[in-house]
Symmetry: C2
Subunit: 294 residues, 2 copies
């Protein structure tokens, strides 16, 4: 299968590295430097202290013929989508979006005329340590689901080996909602307090905020089984106890965060539905305030 | 005049140093080490890059005869008062409290039977750089007011020179309220966002939080002239633009903050009066969460 990967961040490099074991992968990058580096030296994937080198073709985005791929995986941040969408509208191919949050769903209407749309949720930990090199720091899964009703592509094809499992979900909305709750609960609290995921449950004041924020998040998303969902989030905090959340890392390294795709999206829904979310709004503004510092 | 100063922190050392120019000062410290150091080497005050050395007597608290002083200035943090109060009840002297917030006012009823009570607001910047040494980093004033109705002591006596002016205020409550609003607005926002006082007004998201928090603070304290008060707080942010607030410094150095005396007090009033204060409550919990980390 010919697979295109848009985005040369940690997730894009991770996906491109694994998929190139069995597929012909082209990675589309924002900068020419990164494309050149990948074309010259290939991709470097580090997992379990072993290094795997892969030859992968790279092109600068937007490319001439993105539709020549059987599948294009869009692995940019949600706030970068706006500049990518026009190129994808006439691609006439299968598109898999792996953004956090729900903000990207707004683009699917205009895309689905000419493309089959899939969404995915990446539960791997990955760290980009050079423009052509990624470390697989946390082994997880990619969950995928179809947004388009009559999709013909079998996405299980993208599973290349047992280190990179692909799970197929039936309900795309439930899948994205689940991930959104986890992100909305763990990212802002850890980013503002500058604590690891595990400390969220240990620090008493943070846990009080967690309970209040959870009420707001689940009210906004009309989550029915709240207790089960809360247990799910807490389990993830425990499993990833020593990890620093992506939002905490983004702020620490002076990068833009995904707070708009996560809390920004939820606050828009809250406003439309007239649901109070004062803790969420305060945390949103604090993350934006910290972003603006850097 | 014989003056006792309870507390060997930055404010206690600053007051003791200045007052010893014209008064017989005894400083009461928590640790024996600090008392020994002060008795052995005196106090060192640095101001305008000049160093002034003063001989001051020090004793460990609680002392035998605190009532031998004509005036005792209580310069400990609000959260340390509880252990000090029993010793002061039978002092039969004049007491001047210089804590932040309003939490200390609760003790005045039991103290005023045997003592004349004054309150003060310290608008100096001071940095303790050794157990017997303080740097006067920001020149301001001490405002004082009488809590007891028929006070006979003339507090203008404690002004020793033009570097340490004392202003007498008629309305102790208005004076404390004014300082409380300033502390409630500047301390938590700067501490959670880790910004200087000036950045509060420059950072757009922080300014949005400032406006929301200001509504809550002024509702809780029934402030009548809100616009004037807001201008007052903003002027202080501008005047002290490059300063890091005491709460930010406390967190950075792993010390306990005064958040209970400031936001904790306001939240108790809010709860009693059934006034909503969600931004304040979130900031309170975030500061407590950051305190617990250290």
């Amino acid at each position: 299968m010919k697979v295109g990967v848009v985005g040369g961040g940690a997730v894009g490099l991770l996906i491109a590295s694994y998929l190139s074991e069995k597929h012909i992968v082209t990675i589309y990058t924002r900068t020419e430097e990164q494309s050149k580096e990948i074309n010259r030296n290939g991709l470097r994937l580090e997992v379990d202290r072993k290094v795997i080198n892969r030859e992968v073709h790279a092109e600068i985005f937007p490319p001439q013929h993105i539709g020549q791929n059987d599948l294009v995986i869009i692995a940019v941040k949600q706030y970068q989508l706006q500049t990518i969408i026009p190129t994808l509208i006439n691609a006439h191919t299968n598109l898999l979006f792996v953004q956090n949050g729900m903000g990207h769903v707004q683009y699917f209407n205009q895309l689905s005329k000419n493309n089959q749309i899939f969404v995915g949720v990446v539960e791997h930990g990955a760290l980009k340590d050079h423009s052509n090199s990624v470390i697989h720091t946390g082994k997880g899964v990619i969950k995928v689901a179809s947004y388009s009703e009559n999709s013909s592509l079998d996405l299980s094809l993208i599973q290349v080996n047992e280190l990179f499992p692909v799970l197929y979900e039936k309900d795309y909305k439930a899948m994205l909602t689940n991930k959104l709750v986890v992100n909305a609960m763990i990212n802002p609290l850890t980013a503002v307090l500058e604590v690891t995921n595990g400390e969220v449950l240990i620090n008493e004041s943070c846990l009080t905020l967690f309970e209040g924020l959870f009420e707001e998040v689940t009210n906004i998303l009309s989550i029915e089984n709240k207790e089960e969902m809360k247990e799910h989030v807490k389990q993830i905090c425990k499993k990833t106890a020593k990890n620093r959340s992506s939002m905490l890392c983004d702020l620490a390294e002076g990068r833009m965060t995904e707070v708009d795709a996560i809390l920004g999206y939820l606050l828009t829904v809250a406003e439309n539905e007239k649901i109070a979310a004062p803790i969420m709004r305060t945390l949103y503004l604090l993350v934006k305030g910290k972003e603006a510092k850097v």
